[in-house]
Amino acid sequence: MKGIWIAVAAIVVAAVVVGGAAGYVLMTEDDEVESLRLATTTSTYDSGLLDYILPVFENETNCKIDVIAVGSGQAIELGKNGDVDVLLVHSPAAEKDFVAAGYGESRTLVMYNNFVIVGPSADPLNTENAKNASEAFQKIYDNGTAGLAKFVSRADNSGTHSKELTVWSTLGYNKTLVAAFPSSWYIQSGQGMGAVLDMCEELDAYTLSDDATYYQRMDENIIPHLNMTYSGDSALFNQYSVIPVNSTIHAHVNHTLAAAFKNWLVSEAGQDLIASYEKYGHQLFFPNATPQTARVASLLIDESMDVGEGVTRGWNSFRVLRWTDSFPFHAVH
């Protein structure tokens, strides 16, 4: 009797473990093909962009890309420690530090999307008619302190959060001052973008969101009482860059494949593929790596938007940029 029981126990335990192991082996049986570890932000992954474009590259080069989708800060940390081969992130200041410190080989612009202000559908503050993002924020601040509006901040050091701080800084509020805004109207959530939008839906509050997450939440009817109340300020561009990890610091990284991936992303084929990704009836990411389509925009963004000054024209204007040989470039409306 005892023997039978021990046998049954052993068989079940073995079945669980062997079954799991077998499943794991099946899942990794394609390990003979080269693999590339890509650390990226949740926005590129959760929006479905990577699932859309990566299989093409994987088939072309017969490789497998392991995507690790985390916050920008964490992605850059993984790169510093050499735990991934390449980064696709959107945190320009941190990226520049990363490359300057020698961890990244080079920073190449790939694409951008937009931050927008999202608020109650009725837009009680009329941010829609603001001249620029700063003015919209001023309205939120004034009404907030008067007890007439609320704002939910990511407050998590994410790319979105730092963009929000950049806008506040144009109004003279630095990081410390913003953190001291009264919680009666300025809610520092520490949550991800989707969760913050869900909070706004509940609280009738405004927030700064990336448009991909907004469209996706709208499309699935999760935030029926919200609307995009302001968009179009190029100060709200969200620039994504690709950075292969420096193989002189971390010799084990797959540099060849990382470089191939970078080159493919900025190639015409890669850029076209990014541009063709639509969801919820909108193009989510705008390629700006090649001179023909968006070189001007990328330069302007690279040089000016990171410090939050200068460019305040509507982002639509960049779609009809004309390439000229003279500098400064200027946009044609």
């Binding site: 009797m1 335990v13 473990v17 499943g23 939440r217």
Partner: protein
């Protein structure tokens, strides 16, 4: 995203594999350790017990962070290259199992009646034989220790995400999949995965209960 049945099966099997291995390893360490602490007299025993119970509250993310730093390329064991593999997840989760199993084992063997320990000794058992017998008398508690350990890791997401990376087809387990679907706003789908997770846990617990309730004849 999990979109096919075979993907769901893979993710479920990997969850079972990682949690099962972590429970087995954690119990293999925790049960002898708990027996040692519970049955031997030594100085500082109270402090050791308090420390064990305190570690019940060890945050999974912290365990993940420690394992990350050890197995990161920049860390001491980086050359093994096991970061972002199920192995790293098992290691991180084993650390979460050990204090629970150790603590519950201590309680279980201490609660075996003093008179049973005396009887066993009086019947002529050597000290190692009496430890084995006392452990067998504590059987219900020991299986309970394994159940609680398994329950903790199958439901854990922080460490699994940090050292596994939630890589599709590689290190995605049920909890990290639930987190991803939630982040994407797919609440219903996330909920369904939660039900899968609970069903899997239910099956494992039913088996362990069977093991626990039978009389050791």
């Amino acid at each position: 995203m999990i979109s096919t049945g075979s993907e769901l099966l893979d993710v479920t099997l990997l969850s079972l594999y990682v949690s099962g291995m972590a429970t087995i390893l954690g119990s293999a360490i925790g049960i002898p350790l708990g027996a040692l602490i519970g049955l031997k007299e030594f100085g500082g025993k109270g402090a050791v017990k308090t420390l064990t119970y305190t570690l019940y509250g060890f945050p999974p993310v912290l365990s993940g962070l420690v394992v990350y730093y050890v197995f990161s390329r920049a860390g001491p064991l980086g050359d093994l290259g096991i970061l972002f593999t199920p192995t790293a997840m098992i290691i991180a989760e084993t650390f979460l199992v050990i204090p629970l199993v150790t603590g519950i084992t201590i309680t279980s063997v201490v609660e075996v009646d003093r008179s049973i320990k005396d009887t066993v000794k009086a019947l002529g058992a050597s000290s190692s034989q009496s430890i084995v017998t006392v452990m067998r008398e504590a059987w219900v508690g020991l299986v309970m220790a394994c159940m609680i350990g398994f329950g903790r890791v199958i439901a854990e997401v922080g460490a699994a995400y940090l050292v596994g990376g939630n890589i599709d087809g590689e290190t995605r387990v049920l909890t990290t999949a639930i987190m991803l679907e939630t982040r994407m706003g797919h609440f219903e789908w996330a909920m369904s995965l939660g039900i899968v997770l609970l069903s899997v846990a239910l099956m494992v617990f039913l088996f362990l209960r069977l093991l626990q309730e039978r009389e050791m004849l």
